[in-house]
Structure formats: structure tokens, C-alpha cells
Symmetry: C3
Subunit: 139 residues, 3 copies
């Protein structure tokens, strides 16, 4: 049993879902983990990591629209707005989703279901460089 840490950088171009499944699989190959788990952790408070349907782009569009409506910008009670109207909603959207996901690895393969993909969910409108920590525990 060993621990391997690695990192990814994702350059986002505004709000939305960015698939990172391939990059995570590359890290499993690189560190030659056959049997264990991978934990994907974002080091930010205004984006998330989520597992989502990865076949139909309209599903991702509908998800983004849902979150835009659930957590509106410019709510009249928001006080934390120093970085703009998408600042506070980005923290709320992060708490409502996930800072990390943990997925099993068997025989060197990540055990995602047929329709599951791993995504960075960007909550800010401006482009950002997002740091993702990848931790592999296994043998």
C-alpha cells in the first residue's frame, strides 16, 4: 500500500462543467496503481468537483441553468460581494456540491459507471486557473 499525490491545472473560461476524467485516468496509469482509490480534491472555494452524466451536453446545460436559478446573483441579503455579483453565489454552489470525490480503482481502471464522468464545476464568470489535487491510495 502506498500513497501517491499529483496535481492538475484546469484553465476555465467561465461558468460551466469541464470534464477531467481523462486527466484523472492518466494519473492512475502514471503512478501504476492497480487496486485502491483515487480522491480528487479542488483547492478553491468558488468551484467544485462533481460526478455527472457525460454523454449528453444538454444535461450539463440544464444543470448549469438549475444552479443559476437556485442560487441567484444579487440576492438582496448578500453582503459578501467584494469580487462581484458572482462571488457569494460561487461559495454557495460549492457548498451545495462537492470539494472532493473518491472513486475505486480495480485492475488499474477507475470504476466509474457507464455514464459517469468527473467534472470541474466552475462557478465564476472570469477565466481561472484551477488547482486539483489527485491522491491515489493503493497497491
Amino acid at each position: 500500500m502506498h500513497v501517491h499525490h499529483d496535481q492538475l491545472e484546469v484553465r476555465t473560461r467561465g461558468k460551466g462543467l469541464y470534464e477531467i476524467t481523462d486527466q484523472i485516468e492518466s494519473k492512475i496509469d502514471k503512478h501504476e496503481v492497480r487496486n485502491g482509490t483515487v480522491t480528487v480534491f479542488v483547492q478553491h472555494t468558488s468551484c467544485s468537483v462533481v460526478i455527472m452524466e457525460n454523454a449528453d451536453p444538454t444535461a450539463r446545460g440544464d444543470l448549469e441553468e438549475f444552479f443559476d436559478r437556485l442560487v441567484p446573483e444579487n440576492a438582496n441579503y448578500f453582503r459578501h460581494d467584494s469580487e462581484g455579483s458572482d462571488d457569494m453565489p460561487s461559495h454557495i454552489r460549492m457548498v451545495l456540491t462537492h470539494s472532493s470525490e473518491t472513486i475505486p480503482i480495480v485492475g488499474g481502471k477507475i470504476q466509474l459507471g457507464t455514464w459517469q464522468g468527473i467534472f470541474l464545476f466552475e462557478h465564476r464568470r472570469a477565466p481561472h486557473r484551477r488547482k486539483i489535487f489527485v491522491t491515489l491510495i493503493g497497491e
Copy 2:
């Protein structure tokens, strides 16, 4: 330290919470893990795994009602509806809850609190066979 992988299948009969705590405990016993963690991972994008109050069935009913109201079917902006009106809401409900939960194991016992149970949260109306991955890391 070792990794043990196992799987469960849960047959659901429509939307709602299905308790799987006993099945998870059986996997811990079977693999004789005394000290470590168990990660429960669903390989689907239209159901979730959640920890919930497991004593009072009305709490689960209220939770289901809350999600039916928070993520309504037939929102006028949904485009992803090829599998019916419960298709897109099921993906949103999954992202708002969890694809996995990780719980400590001490002395061969899962360290859930008094009122915590582990549940599969089915978001589709039709019956489904759901695959759950159980990963035990420990000694």
C-alpha cells in the same frame, strides 16, 4: 494495510430511500477489516448514496417531498428529457447529494452515529437495479 473491493446490487421500486447499512456492515465482516474506512460509491448518475436519519420514516418522506419540490419535473428550460420528465431532475438531485460516502471502521465496527443510516436514494420512478461499489481500506 490492504484494499478490499466488493459490490452490492439494490433493486429499487421507484423514487425514495432504501437503507443499505446492514449490507455494508456484512461486507466489513466478510473482509475482516478491523481498522480503517469504508467508501460506498454508486455507479450511476440518477441515484445517490446519502447518510440520513434512520429511526423515523416520516423524516425520509419529508426529505423526498423536499427534493420533489426543489427539483421539479417539467421545468420549462429542461432540454435533456429523452428518458422522460424524471430524467433531468434525477441528475440534478444526484449532484445536490452524493455519489459516495466514506465512514470510519474501528474494532471491526462501522462508526455511524446513533441515528445515522446509509441509504441509496433512488431518483427515478421506474424500478432499477443499482450497482454499489464498496471499498474497504484498512488492516
Copy 3:
């Protein structure tokens, strides 16, 4: 590779976010884990563990206000209310957030981003003693 388990108790004084980052870091130091992960798990169904912006208190206030509005007390369909009007909302808020968080450890340091803190999110109005399980896996 070893597993170390430890526990924290947090005394809450009503609804809100209570930072526990320092206590988690102390457990990493105490058990001398250099390289691995820490999993923080709450053994309750009416509070959560979340990662949140830890610099500006107004961000936390806005988050609390958002959850008070998203999950109102006294919804007319709630049946689970034996412990009061904040009973059922506390379970829903827990399911919408997290029972655990897993964070990497490198060189003995927790790998949180610049603005990330770990918080207990209390959902009940009355004071509570909350038990948090801390599991360190690593070497």
C-alpha cells in the same frame, strides 16, 4: 501505511459555521502523518462538515441566510417535527451538504487552498455537543 483514528468534540451555540481547521491540523501533528489523507466525519444527522471560505465572516453569514431561505422551517408538508420546527430542516440541510470531507496531507501539512477552512455546520438552534471522527490514512 497506517490508519489512525481520533475524535473531536465541538460545543455549538446554535445555527452557524464553527471552524475546526486548527483542531484537524493538531491531529495530523499528533499522529505524525507525513503523507496521506485525513477524513473528517460527523456522527450526527442534524449538522454537517463543510469546506468554506474562511477569510470573510460575511460570506459565512450569507451562506447561513441562504440555507435558512432554501430550507424553511414550518413547511406545511413536514410531518417529522417531534423535536421542533428546526428538526426536519436540519436533516435536509445535512443531506444537501456533507457528512464527511477528505483532504490530502503532504509533508505533514493539510493541502487546503489559501481560502479554504474546514467547518462544522450546525443546523439546530439549541446548543449541542458534536462528535467528529478524524481518520488519518498514510505514512
